[in-house]
C-alpha cells in the first residue's frame, strides 16, 4: 500500500483531493456520451487528483474501486457521473462512508436520465456532461461533513379504503401485530368485490372468499374500522404522520346496534322508495337500511334525506320503539373527528366504473335492455335485486344477449388505456348468463385480452360453451322495428368482413375502470402524484411499484392502475410488507438538509418567520432560531433571508453558486 498522500483541509478554502468517476452504464450512457472524453476533461479540473471511467459504477467492483481510491489516493471528495441520484445516491454515499470519509463529501451527476437518454447528438450530449461534471467538482469542494438525522417510526398504520386491497393490507399488518386504522367512506367495508357474484377465471363466489376476510377484519383486536369516514388532513412526515379523520353521522350507535335489522321491518315506510346504492338502483331501500346482508360492521344506518323524522320531525319513530332498550338509534348524531398518529399509510381507494351515459350511442339510460356490467353482477348475484334471476327491467327473460367490450377503454374519446379486467369479466358474465338463461350470447370485442394464469383456458372454455365471439366494435344500438322491446346491435365483423345487425333483448356494456372522482383531493391530502389518466403514481414503475414519492405512503389496488383481484391482493400484500419493513427497522434516516441560522449575521428582521410552513422558525433574543426537528429542508427561508444569515445544509449558497458558475464556465 502506498503512503496516503498529504490531505488538505476540507473547508472549501483549501483544495480537497477530488476523485471523479464517469459511468458507462453498459451502453446506456456510453452510446450517446463520449465517456473517455468526459473522463479526460474531468482530469484537468482544479482539485481533481484522479478521474476514472468504468462500465458499471454501481456494481460491487465499481464501489470497491471508489473505496480503494479513497484509501490509496487520499481522496477527500468524490463525484460520480452516472444515473439519477434517486437511484444510486444512497449506494455511493454508503460506499464512500465505507471508504472512510463522510458520506456527504459526495456529489452525483445525472448524465443518464438528464443527458444520454434524452439527446441524440454525441457532441452536444458530451458537452452537457462535461458542464455538469465541472459544476459538481466545483460544488463538492464546499461540502461539509454532515450526519443523517434519525427519526423513530410510529408502528401504527392507517389504511385508506376498505375494499379487497385495504382489507388484505390491513389484515397482513394486523397479523404482524401492528395497530391498524381502516378508514372507509361507505357504510360497510367490502368495496367493489362485495358486489360481484363470481370471480374469474376460477368462478369462486366473491362473497364466499371475501366475507370471511371481512369478518376477520371485524374481529381483529389490532384493527379499528371507521366506516362512513374520510381523511380530511394529513400532517407530519414519514414515521410521524398526524391524520385527521372525519366521521359522518350514521344516526346509529355502532356499539349498541346488534344488527338484528328489526328496525328496518318496523320502519313506517312499508316498502323501500329510494334507489339502493349497493344494487346500483336496481332495487329500492328504506330510509333505515343495511347496505348488504354481509355488511361489516353489521350495523344499520339512516339516510337523513329520506327519513320522515329528519324531514318533518313528526314520524312515529317505530324504529326506536322496536329497538327498545338497546337504544341504538340516535337522531342527534353529528359529525365527529378523530386525530391519530401513525407511522405509515396505505392508500387503497380503488376505482370508479366508467359512466356508460357518457357514450350515448350505446343507449344506456335510453333503452330498458341496456345494462352496465356492474349492474349485471348484481343481477346474477343470489343476494341481488332479483335474487339471481335474470329478469329485465320490463319483466322479460332475455333470449339473446349482446356483450360489448371496451366501453370507456381503448378509445381516445374517453380513455386510451386498456382497463385490463373487462375481457375476462365479460367472459365470466357470458358464462353466468348462459348458465342462468340459456340465451344466445354474443361478445363484441376489439381484441380478446386474456393474459393471466388460467385466463386463456377460461376464454376457450366459454367459447366451447357456445358463446359467439364477434371481433368488431358496435357502432350503433337502435330499437328493433315492430316494438319487440329488443335493440339491434350493429357492428362490423372484422374477421368475416361484413356488417352484422344482431337483435338482442339485453345489452351488457363492459365498462372500464376510472380513477375515483375525488382522486385529485386524495392526492393533495396525501401529497402523492397522479399519472396516466388520474391513477396514483408509483415511485418507480418496476422497482418501487407500491411506494410513492412521499416516504411512508404506499399504494395498493386499482387506485394505482386498473387491475384484477389477484393483482390487487398481491399489491396490497406488497404495500403491507413495505410498511412493515419501515416499521421494523424502527427508525428512518432523513437527509440532513435542514436550514440553520448564523446568529451573528441575523438582524432579527423576522422576514423568515412567516415563510416557514412548518413553524420551525422562532425569534429568540432578537434572532431567528430554527428547530431542526421541525425543519424539513425546503430552503425557502434561506432564499429569503436579506442578510444571508440562514444557510441550508447540502444546499449552501456557495455550493449552488459554484454549480451555476460550473455549468456556465467556458472551457
Amino acid at each position: 500500500m502506498p503512503e496516503p498522500a498529504a490531505r488538505t483541509s476540507g473547508n472549501g478554502n483549501g483544495t480537497p483531493r477530488i476523485g471523479v468517476y464517469v459511468c458507462h452504464c453498459g451502453t446506456n450512457i456510453a452510446s450517446t456520451i463520449d465517456v473517455a472524453a468526459a473522463q479526460r476533461a474531468a482530469e484537468s479540473l482544479p482539485g481533481v487528483v484522479l478521474s476514472r471511467e468504468y462500465k458499471y459504477m454501481c456494481s460491487d467492483p465499481g464501489q470497491e474501486m471508489i473505496k480503494d481510491d479513497i484509501r490509496d489516493h487520499g481522496l477527500e471528495r468524490v463525484v460520480v457521473a452516472s444515473c439519477s441520484p434517486c437511484l444510486h445516491e444512497e449506494t455511493f454515499r454508503t460506499a464512500i462512508a465505507d471508504g472512510g470519509i463522510n458520506p456527504y463529501f459526495f456529489q452525483m451527476v445525472n448524465i443518464r436520465e438528464h443527458d444520454s437518454w434524452v439527446h441524440k447528438d454525441m457532441a452536444a450530449a458530451t458537452a452537457k456532461a462535461n458542464d455538469l461534471i465541472r459544476a459538481a467538482v466545483r460544488r463538492v469542494r464546499f461540502h461539509q461533513p454532515l450526519e443523517a438525522r434519525r427519526v423513530p417510526i410510529d408502528p401504527k398504520v392507517l389504511v385508506l379504503g376498505g375494499g379487497i386491497a385495504g382489507i388484505h393490507a390491513a389484515l397482513t399488518l394486523a397479523n404482524a401485530g401492528k395497530q391498524v386504522y381502516l378508514v372507509e367512506r361507505e357504510p360497510s367495508i367490502g368495496g367493489h368485490m362485495a358486489m360481484f357474484d363470481k370471480t374469474f377465471p376460477t368462478l369462486d363466489c366473491a362473497a364466499c372468499i371475501l366475507t370471511p376476510k371481512m369478518t376477520q377484519v371485524r374481529n381483529h383486536p389490532n384493527i379499528t374500522i371507521w366506516t362512513m369516514s374520510d381523511v380530511v388532513e394529513v400532517d407530519g412526515f414519514v414515521g410521524n404522520y398526524k391524520v385527521k379523520v372525519k366521521h359522518r353521522p350514521r344516526y346509529i350507535l355502532e356499539e349498541a346496534c346488534v344488527g338484528c335489522l328489526e328496525c328496518i321491518d318496523a320502519c313506517v315506510f312499508r316498502r323501500g322508495k329510494t334507489p339502493d346504492e349497493f344494487n346500483l338502483g336496481l332495487s329500492k331501500r328504506k330510509p333505515i337500511y343495511i347496505p348488504f346482508p354481509q355488511a361489516v360492521p353489521q350495523v344499520v344506518l339512516i339516510d337523513p334525506d329520506t327519513c320522515i323524522e329528519f324531514r318533518t320531525g313528526k314520524c312515529k319513530k317505530t324504529c326506536i320503539e322496536v329497538c327498545a332498550d338497546r337504544n341504538a338509534i340516535d337522531f342527534t348524531q353529528t359529525e365527529t373527528f378523530d386525530e391519530v398518529e401513525v407511522g405509515s399509510i396505505v392508500v387503497a381507494t380503488g376505482f370508479k366504473a366508467f359512466d356508460a351515459g357518457r357514450l350515448p350511442q350505446y343507449g344506456y339510460g335510453r333503452y330498458d335492455g341496456v345494462y352496465t356490467a356492474l349492474e349485471v353482477e348484481r343481477l346474477v348475484n343470489a343476494s341481488g335485486p332479483t335474487e339471481g334471476k335474470i329478469v329485465l327491467r320490463d319483466g322479460r327473460e332475455p333470449e339473446r344477449i349482446g356483450i360489448i367490450h371496451c366501453i370507456g377503454s381503448r378509445d381516445k374519446n374517453t380513455n386510451v388505456y386498456c382497463s385490463r379486467v373487462c375481457c375476462m369479466y365479460s367472459l365470466k358474465l357470458a358464462h353466468l348468463l348462459q348458465e342462468k338463461t340459456n340465451a344466445e350470447i354474443y361478445e363484441f370485442y376489439i381484441d380478446m385480452r386474456t393474459a393471466g394464469k388460467g385466463f386463456e383456458e377460461f376464454m376457450l372454455r366459454v367459447k366451447s360453451e357456445g358463446v359467439h365471439m364477434i371481433r368488431g366494435k358496435v357502432s350503433d344500438v337502435y330499437p328493433e322495428a315492430g316494438g319487440t322491446g329488443r335493440v339491434v346491435l350493429q357492428a362490423e365483423d372484422s374477421l368475416a368482413g361484413m356488417v352484422r345487425k344482431i337483435p338482442v333483448d339485453m345489452v351488457v356494456l363492459a365498462t372500464g375502470l376510472e380513477p375515483q372522482p375525488d382522486a385529485e383531493d386524495v392526492r393533495r391530502i396525501f401529497n402523492i402524484t397522479c399519472a396516466g389518466g388520474g391513477f396514483f403514481m408509483e415511485r418507480h414503475p418496476k422497482l418501487a411499484p407500491v411506494s410513492t414519492f412521499t416516504d411512508g405512503v404506499f399504494l395498493a389496488g386499482a387506485c394505482q392502475a386498473p387491475k384484477d383481484i389477484p393483482d390487487t391482493v398481491a399489491q396490497a400484500g406488497a404495500a403491507a410488507a413495505e410498511a412493515l419493513a419501515l416499521i421494523d427497522h424502527g427508525y428512518i434516516e432523513l437527509e440532513p438538509n435542514t436550514a440553520y441560522v448564523v446568529a451573528e449575521e441575523c438582524s432579527g428582521c423576522k422576514t423568515c418567520l412567516g415563510l416557514c410552513p412548518f413553524s420551525a422558525i422562532t425569534r429568540v433574543d432578537g434572532k431567528a432560531q430554527i428547530n431542526p426537528v421541525l425543519c424539513k429542508g425546503c430552503g425557502t427561508c434561506v432564499a429569503a433571508c436579506p442578510s444571508g444569515a440562514i444557510k441550508q445544509n447540502l444546499f449552501e449558497d456557495e455550493e449552488i453558486y459554484e454549480e451555476i458558475m460550473g455549468v456556465l464556465a467556458h472551457v
Partner: protein
C-alpha cells in the same frame, strides 16, 4: 460574453445556454421520467437540483445571467402540490418581482421562465425545454451588462 455578436440579431450557430433550477420532488423527477421514457429534447439546459423551487434565491438567477446564461428556467410543483406546502407560491411571488426588475435591466421576459411540471409530466418538460430553447434562439444571446469593477471601492464608501 466571450463571443462577439450583434445584439438582438440571430447569430449563426448560436446555442442558447440555459440554467434550470428544478425542485427535487416534481420537475427533477419529470426530467428523470423523460429520460426513462427516452423522450428527446434540446440539450441546452443544465439542471441544478434544489429541494424546492422556494429555495431559488433571485440572486441565483441574476448570477446565472451574469455568468453568461441566455435563459433561466425554474421548475416547481403545481400550485397546491408543493412537497413543502407552499414553497412554490414563494417562488411565484419572487418570480414576478424578479421578472419586472430584469425587464427594467433590459433582459427580455422570455429569458426567465417559471413552470409547474409534476413528476408525471415528462411530455410537458420536453415541450417546455424545446419551446424555451427555440424562443431564446430567436432572441439571440443575452447581453446583460455586468460592470467589471469590483465592489470593493463601493464597500469602502459605505464603511
Amino acid at each position: 460574453m466571450s463571443e462577439t455578436h450583434d445584439a438582438g440579431q440571430q447569430v449563426d450557430g448560436f446555442e442558447p445556454r440555459i440554467v434550470a433550477f428544478f425542485c427535487n420532488w416534481c420537475t427533477y423527477l419529470a426530467a428523470d421520467l423523460a429520460g426513462t421514457s427516452r423522450m428527446k429534447y434540446a440539450p441546452n439546459a443544465r439542471v441544478i437540483r434544489v429541494m424546492c423551487s422556494g429555495r431559488v434565491d433571485p440572486q441565483f438567477v441574476m448570477e446565472a445571467l451574469a455568468q453568461g446564461a441566455d435563459g433561466v428556467l425554474i421548475g416547481g410543483c403545481h400550485p397546491g402540490d408543493c412537497h413543502y406546502q407552499s414553497g412554490n407560491y414563494k417562488a411565484l411571488r419572487r418570480y414576478h418581482l424578479l421578472r419586472r426588475m430584469l425587464t427594467d435591466l433590459g433582459v427580455e421576459e422570455k429569458r426567465i421562465r417559471l413552470e409547474w411540471i409534476s413528476a408525471a409530466e415528462a411530455d410537458k418538460l420536453r415541450d417546455v425545454m424545446n419551446e424555451m430553447v427555440a424562443e431564446i434562439r430567436a432572441l439571440g444571446p443575452a447581453h446583460l451588462e455586468v460592470p467589471d469593477e469590483s465592489f470593493e471601492e463601493l464597500e469602502e464608501v459605505t464603511v
